[in-house]
C-alpha cells in the first residue's frame, strides 16, 4: 500500500484548519452569490429593456467581466486600489467585491435569457384573461422564468465556489492555502502529504458543491412534474 500522506491530516489541528479554510472559501462565495442574485435579478430585468442606452451599457459591463480573467480583477481591486486611491481593502472584502462584480453580470445575463425565452403568447394569454401587468409578471412570467433559471444559476454558483481558490493569490487563507501550508510544514516528516491533503481539499469542494447540485436536481424534478 503506497503512503498517501493522509496521516498528516490527523496531526494536531490540521483537519480543523482545513475545515476553517473551507469555511473561508464558502463564506466568500456565499456572500458573493447573495449579492449576485440580489443585484443580478433586477439588473437582468433591466437588461430586457429595449432602450439602446441600457443595452450598450449592460452589454459592455458583461463583456468586460467575461474578457477579464478573474485573477486580473482580483489584483486590480486588491493591489490596484491601494495604489490608486490609497484604499486599504481587506483581502476578503476585495474578493467579495470581485466575485460579486463577476457573478452579478453572469446572473443578470442568465435572468435576461430566461425572461426573453418566455413566449410572447404567455403574456398575451394572461392579458386576455384580464390580468394587469403586475399579475401577468408575478403569477405567469416570473415563476416560469425562475424555473428556467434554476439549473443555470446553480451551475454559476458552483463555478463561483470553485473559482474562490484564486483568492489565495491575494493572501486570503482559504482551504487550498491552508492545504499548502500543511504540506509545507510537514515537508520532512510526511513528504507524501501532497496527495492526501489535495485529495482531501478536492473532497471538501465536492462536499461543498454536491448538496447544491442535489438540491437543484430535486427542484428540477419536482417542477418538471409540472
Amino acid at each position: 500500500m503506497p503512503n498517501l500522506g493522509i496521516e498528516v491530516l490527523f496531526k494536531g489541528s490540521n483537519m480543523a484548519r482545513l475545515l476553517g479554510g473551507l469555511w473561508v472559501s464558502l463564506r466568500i462565495s456565499l456572500i458573493a452569490v447573495g449579492f449576485s442574485i440580489g443585484l443580478g435579478i433586477p439588473l437582468g430585468i433591466v437588461m430586457t429593456s429595449k432602450s439602446p442606452v441600457i443595452k450598450v451599457i449592460t452589454r459592455l459591463y458583461l463583456e468586460v467581466v467575461r474578457i477579464m480573467p478573474q485573477m486580473v480583477l482580483l489584483f486590480l481591486v486588491f493591489f490596484g486600489t491601494t495604489r490608486a486611491f490609497g484604499w486599504n481593502l481587506n483581502a476578503e472584502v476585495a474578493s467579495v467585491i470581485v466575485f460579486s462584480f463577476w457573478g452579478c453580470a453572469e446572473m443578470a445575463d442568465l435572468v435576461r435569457g430566461a425572461f426573453i425565452s418566455i413566449p410572447k403568447h404567455q403574456y398575451e394569454s394572461a392579458k386576455a384573461l384580464g390580468m394587469n401587468s403586475f399579475l401577468v409578471f408575478s403569477v405567469i412570467i416570473l415563476p416560469q422564468t425562475l424555473r428556467r433559471l434554476l439549473p443555470l444559476s446553480i451551475n454559476l454558483v458552483t463555478r463561483m465556489i470553485k473559482t474562490t481558490s484564486l483568492v489565495m493569490m491575494i493572501g486570503v487563507v482559504e482551504v487550498l492555502k491552508v492545504g499548502q501550508q500543511i504540506i509545507e510544514a510537514n515537508r520532512t516528516s510526511s513528504p507524501n502529504a501532497a496527495f492526501g491533503v489535495y485529495g482531501t481539499v478536492l473532497l471538501l469542494y465536492f462536499i461543498g458543491c454536491w448538496p447544491i447540485s442535489m438540491l437543484s436536481k430535486y427542484l428540477e424534478k419536482k417542477w418538471n412534474k409540472s
Binding site: E124, S125, A126, A128, L129, G130, I140, S226
Partner: protein, 256 residues
C-alpha cells in the same frame, strides 16, 4: 333585423392599422351584436388575427376607434383589464400556463382578477371541464394533454371568466385533423346556447354551420358580408368565389 334590433356589443369604427409602413387594415368597420356568431374568413395574411387582437386591445391602432358597449378599447388605458374580463379570447397556439395544473389554469383569473369565491369558482371550473370531457385531467399539467385537449381547456379557461363575447382565432389550425372535431363541437354547443362569438376559421363547412353572419376579408378590406347561406351558396364578388374555390377540388380526369 330592424324590428328587434339587438344591442351592439363591440364596435370597430373606421380603423386603420399599420405595422411600420405596412398597412394591414384600411378604414375597416365591424359591429358585433348580442347573441350573434360572426365568422371572419379570408386568405392567410389578410388581417383576420389582427382584427381580433385589436378588439381585445392587444394591438394599437393608428386611426378610428374600437368600443365595447360604448367604452373605448385601448391597451394603454387602465380600463382595459375590465374590458378583457368581458371579451374572452382563445388563440391559435393553445397557450395554457405550463406551470399550473389544468384546474389551476381555469381558476386563476376568476379568483385573482375577479376576486370571486374560490369554492364557487372551483365548482364551476369542474363543471366546465366535465362539459368538455376533461374532468379527469384536472390535476394534470398542460404538457400531458394532446393539442385538442389543451385547446378545449383554453376555451374553458376563457368561459370561466363569464365573458360576454368570445373571440376565437383559428383555434383548430394547429391541431391534427382528428382533433379538430372535438374542439369545433365545443364551439357549436356554445353557439346553441346563444353566446356572442367572433370566429376566425379556415374550416368552411364549420363556418357555414355556425355563422349567423360571414365577413370575407381580403387585403385588409371587407370584400363581402352576408348570411352563411348567402356567402357560401351565392357569393357575390369574384374574389369570394375564387377564395371558396380554393377549398374544392375537381375530379381528376385521367388521360387515356
Amino acid at each position: 333585423m330592424s324590428v328587434n334590433k339587438k344591442e351592439e356589443i363591440i364596435r370597430v369604427d373606421h380603423i386603420t392599422k399599420r405595422y411600420d409602413e405596412n398597412s394591414v387594415l384600411e378604414d375597416f368597420s365591424l359591429s358585433v351584436y348580442e347573441g350573434e356568431v360572426v365568422v371572419i374568413v379570408g386568405p392567410s395574411g389578410c388581417g383576420k388575427s389582427t382584427i381580433l387582437r385589436i378588439m381585445n386591445g392587444l394591438e394599437p391602432i393608428q386611426k378610428g376607434e374600437v368600443t365595447y358597449r360604448g367604452e373605448k378599447v385601448d391597451g394603454k388605458l387602465g380600463s382595459i383589464t375590465r374590458i378583457r374580463e368581458k371579451v374572452g379570447m382563445v388563440f391559435q397556439s393553445y397557450e395554457l400556463f405550463p406551470h399550473k395544473t389544468i384546474l389551476q389554469n381555469v381558476m386563476l383569473s376568476p379568483v385573482l382578477v375577479q376576486k370571486r369565491d374560490r369554492k364557487e369558482v372551483r365548482e364551476e371550473a369542474l363543471q366546465l371541464l366535465a362539459r368538455v370531457g376533461l374532468l379527469e385531467k384536472k390535476d394534470n399539467y398542460p404538457r400531458q394533454l394532446s393539442g385538442g385537449q389543451k385547446q378545449r381547456v383554453a376555451i374553458v379557461r376563457a368561459l370561466a371568466m363569464h365573458p360576454e363575447v368570445l373571440l376565437f382565432d383559428e383555434v383548430t389550425a394547429a391541431l391534427d385533423p382528428e382533433m379538430v372535431r372535438e374542439v369545433l363541437d365545443v364551439l357549436l354547443s356554445l353557439a346553441k346556447e346563444g353566446k356572442t362569438m367572433v370566429i376566425v376559421t379556415h374550416e368552411m363547412s364549420f363556418a357555414k354551420a355556425i355563422a349567423d353572419r360571414v365577413i370575407f376579408l381580403d387585403g385588409g378590406h371587407l370584400e363581402e358580408e352576408g348570411t352563411a347561406t348567402e356567402f357560401f351558396e351565392h357569393p357575390k364578388t369574384e374574389r369570394a368565389k375564387q377564395f371558396l374555390n380554393t377549398f374544392t377540388y375537381a375530379k381528376v380526369e385521367r388521360e387515356e
